[in-house]
């Protein structure tokens, strides 16, 4: 006896299970990817800050590098302003701005006006080069602030 309805239902269940497995694998990769980025923490700084301040529709972006070590010979800050889109995705809306030092402390500040309603954050990339020429880049995101 053949049961065409049963076969159709079983195929649908198998499809859902496949989607679930892909989702779980994707989540696992995200956890692993995070672990990889954490192991490349750079030298040269005691502290780094990423700050976003919103006043009306104007954003002030600030990245602070506090040096207190001897390892770094060059530091580059690359800063951009990002806006949150659909499904918690982020896209750059202003920047990138850069500033370079010889390893000493520095601050990069930029202002963006006439922003649309939405959630924003500052992305500060600190690229540090040590005495051996090894270069490492670490991103640091400010907390999210709202316009409107």
């Amino acid at each position: 006896m053949s049961f065409p309805n049963k076969n159709k239902e079983v195929r649908r269940v198998k499809k859902l299970v496949s989607i679930a497995i892909v989702l779980v694998m994707a989540l696992s990769f995200c956890t692993t990817a995070f672990a990889v980025s954490a192991s490349t923490y750079a030298t040269g700084a005691d502290k780094r800050d990423s700050i976003l301040s919103i006043s009306g529709s104007t954003a002030t972006c600030k990245s602070i590098y506090t040096a207190n070590g001897d390892d770094a010979v060059k530091v580059v800050i690359t800063q951009s302003l990002e806006k949150q889109g659909l499904f918690w995705s982020w896209s750059k809306v202003a920047g990138e701005w850069t500033k370079t030092s010889d390893g000493s402390s520095m601050v990069l500040t930029n202002t963006v006006s006439n922003l649309e309603k939405g959630k924003y954050r500052v992305k500060s990339m600190f690229t540090v080069t040590d005495k051996n020429g090894k270069e490492e880049t670490i991103p640091l995101y400010s907390t999210t602030e709202k316009v409107g």
Partner: protein, 225 residues
């Protein structure tokens, strides 16, 4: 013969009589229509049963997916240790610690009051790195004694700080000038104090002085006109 034996014999005889009656029945053939109806009835019952089991499985599937996803996310979260001390929320990520301030609701978005390190720092060169409405950052250096001091005052809004705690003990809770704060020593053996003055975050760090001397220096951080 006992009564039980008599009853057993009578029942046995009744059974044989029933069988003899059955064998006397004429041979009967069911019509094709009747057979088709019976077959359809049985088929529908089997499909309904299998459909019901598939529906039950489909109902369990979202719950199973949610459990598996939760386990995976929890495993990721377990890899990060969280600390909460007053307004300081810290995430220990092994090679560094992330610091966020949780309660910023009634805090000013600009520096409306100014804090400065008022200790006698003669013999130190002063270098103002930043001085605007969001932050004040100054460094003092005495090359002869190999001492370097950093002082910062920043607003709380939109702030994320990355602390270099690689290979060191995680930050510990302290009280500075009656304010909540944290203390840690960085990879470079520098002493760092960060505290919440109420409206702002104050950072004081030093290279070349002891932890006790740093705490004494912190008492010279005062609000100025």
């Amino acid at each position: 013969m006992t009564n039980d034996e008599k009853i057993a014999k009578a029942l046995e005889q009744a059974l044989y009589d029933d069988i003899a009656e059955y064998e006397k029945l004429p041979d009967h053939k069911f019509s094709r229509g009747f057979n088709r109806k019976m077959k359809r009835m049985f088929q529908e019952e089997v499909v309904a049963e299998s459909h019901l089991s598939v529906v039950r499985r489909r109902r369990k599937l979202p719950a199973a997916v949610a459990v598996v996803c939760s386990v995976v996310l929890l495993m990721g979260a377990a890899a990060t240790t969280y600390y909460l001390w007053n307004n300081f929320r810290m995430q220990d990520r092994g090679l560094y610690t992330l610091l966020n301030i949780t309660d910023v609701e009634n805090c000013p978005k600009t520096l409306e009051e100014h804090y400065r390190l008022t200790a006698d720092l003669s013999g130190f060169t002063e270098n103002v790195i930043d001085d605007d409405e969001l932050s004040y950052f100054v460094e003092y250096e005495n090359k002869e004694k190999n001492i370097k001091i950093s002082f910062q005052q920043v607003t709380k809004h939109g702030l994320t700080t990355m602390l270099n705690t690689e290979g060191k003990e995680p930050p510990v809770e302290v009280t500075i000038n009656s304010c909540y704060g944290i203390y840690f020593e960085s990879k470079y053996e520098n002493c760092i104090l960060i505290w919440d003055s109420g409206d702002y975050i104050i950072n004081l760090s030093a290279h070349g002085i002891s932890k006790n001397d740093l705490f004494v220096l912190a008492e010279f951080v005062q609000k100025v006109e």
